[in-house]
């Protein structure tokens, strides 16, 4: 107070610059150490007793808002929604019936070929906890964690396509990085042409994917569908990822780049599915002799060449946060 009267502009209200510098230095050291060593994940795993209830409480208002919305929505709306759902269920059922026949046929043919892989995969349903960690990073929080058997790296899908992958697991919640996150990359193929490339989250638009460094001679058109290619071994092959919305040349003019809209309803999903099995190798089985000494080099990713069939990816790939694999041109 006294200091305030003598020096009104720079009154030192009991704070010294030395302490500020000390705290700032400490913060910088913490950030550097955490950036290198990822301490925060370990601290968060320890502090999960504090974090998880906080997440649940923070999600309460939006849960309440949603249930209030359901309670006051008119019967007409509910009937419309019901009818729509029934129609889509009917369509899905019809398609499924046909698929049953196809998968039986597929199994028989695979049996003839003595192929090892199976298409079936087990999934686990989880709900999204409606909180927002940081708007500039595209992450979602899911109400299943290590006690439900979730592990880092599991692909997250919804009814329409690939949503992302688990990047952090707490005892009963987990954090997933969406495909639209700028630090997320997913190996994709273009369904129509079989061109392999990589879809990265777009920096400018938070809800788009970006395919950069496509050769200008490549045949990429607006409306082309992107599927996961299964390369890199993180995501199983054949899941819809998005649809190309815009193709343009990049600044230098050496490559084309495209923007794609993700197939998954990233902003609207309430439930997601976690894929349990690690992705199966897809395509022709690697020519691995059953007899003879086992070699680890047998399942090389044959990404070269121009055939559209992605080759078997190594199943035991070391866990990396973003499965980036160099595209071969």
């Amino acid at each position: 107070m006294r200091a305030a009267e003598s020096a009104p502009l720079f009154s030192d209200g009991g704070v010294s610059t030395i302490r500020l510098i000390a705290y700032l230095a400490l913060a910088v050291i913490l950030m550097v150490v955490d950036h290198r060593g990822h301490w925060l994940d370990q601290i968060r795993a320890r502090a999960s007793l504090l974090i998880e209830p906080a997440y649940r409480v923070a999600a309460l208002p939006s849960d309440v808002a949603r249930s209030v919305g359901t309670a006051v929505s008119s019967q007409q709306q509910l009937m419309d929604e019901n009818r729509e759902l029934r129609q889509s269920l009917l369509l899905a059922q019809v398609r499924l019936n046909r698929l049953d026949a196809l998968s039986a046929q597929n199994e028989r043919l695979q049996g003839l070929l003595e192929a090892q892989q199976r298409l079936g995969m087990s999934v686990q349903m989880a709900h999204i906890i409606n909180i927002d960690l940081d708007p500039s990073r595209r992450r979602i929080v899911i109400d299943a964690g290590s006690s439900q058997g979730v592990v880092v790296g599991q692909p997250v899908i919804d009814a329409f396509g690939l949503m992302g992958q688990i990047v952090e697991v707490l005892p009963s919640t987990s954090v997933a990085m969406l495909v639209t996150d700028p630090s997320h990359a997913v190996p994709v193929t273009i369904e129509r042409t079989g061109l392999r490339t990589i879809a990265v989250g777009n920096k400018q638009h938070g809800d788009l994917l970006e395919l950069s460094n496509i050769p200008t001679s490549a045949d990429v058109q607006v409306g082309d569908k992107l599927l996961t290619s299964g390369l890199g071994g993180r995501f199983p092959a054949g899941f819809p990822v998005g649809e190309i919305r815009e193709v343009s040349n990049d600044r230098v003019g050496m490559f084309a780049s495209a923007l794609a809209r993700p197939a998954a309803a990233i902003d609207r999903s309430g439930e997601v599915l976690l894929l349990h099995d690690l992705p199966q190798p897809y395509g022709a089985p690697a020519p691995m002799p059953q007899e003879g000494p086992p070699t680890t080099e047998a399942a090389q990713p044959a990404a070269s060449g121009s055939t559209p069939t992605p080759a078997a990816a190594p199943a035991q790939k070391p866990v990396a946060t973003t499965p980036i694999q160099e595209p071969q041109r």
């Binding site: 913060a27 502090a47 906080a54 940081d134 708007p135 920096k203």
Partner: protein, 163 residues
Amino acid sequence: MNRARAQFLLLVGSVVIAMLLQLLPLPPSIAPLKPFWLAMVLIYWAIETPERVGLGMAFFLGLLGDVLAGHLLGEQAMRLTALVFIVLRFRARLRFFPMWQQAAAVFGLLLNDRVVVMMVRGFSSAPMPSSLFWLSPLVGMMIWPFLFILLDDLRGRLRARES
């Protein structure tokens, strides 16, 4: 003694609510506009009760926020420490500003905070946020009078009940 404890509870309560508000989801189109609630609550307490809110407390609360948000340990700690330091330095003036000037000062503080965020992001090679991100201090400025009056009123009621 009892009154001090009630005030302390109010401080803790407001900080907890600010942390929960920080996690509250917004529609994706306006999500970058979310104000830095924790900073605004801390500005209030630093102006009104500087004996409780020091640099150490700002640092500690920032660490808590970092653990909740899960990005980079020390980011919010750094932001809040710098912010509280400025508030404490200019407290004697900030305190007696008329409301609109105070709100403008809060705008400046939050804008400074955005610059610190950009610096941290740049150094840690994290993705840069969208341009809407710069409008968040404006939202903070508009909320400030209401936050100030609300907290002041709660504090006044506590005082009235005790005396």
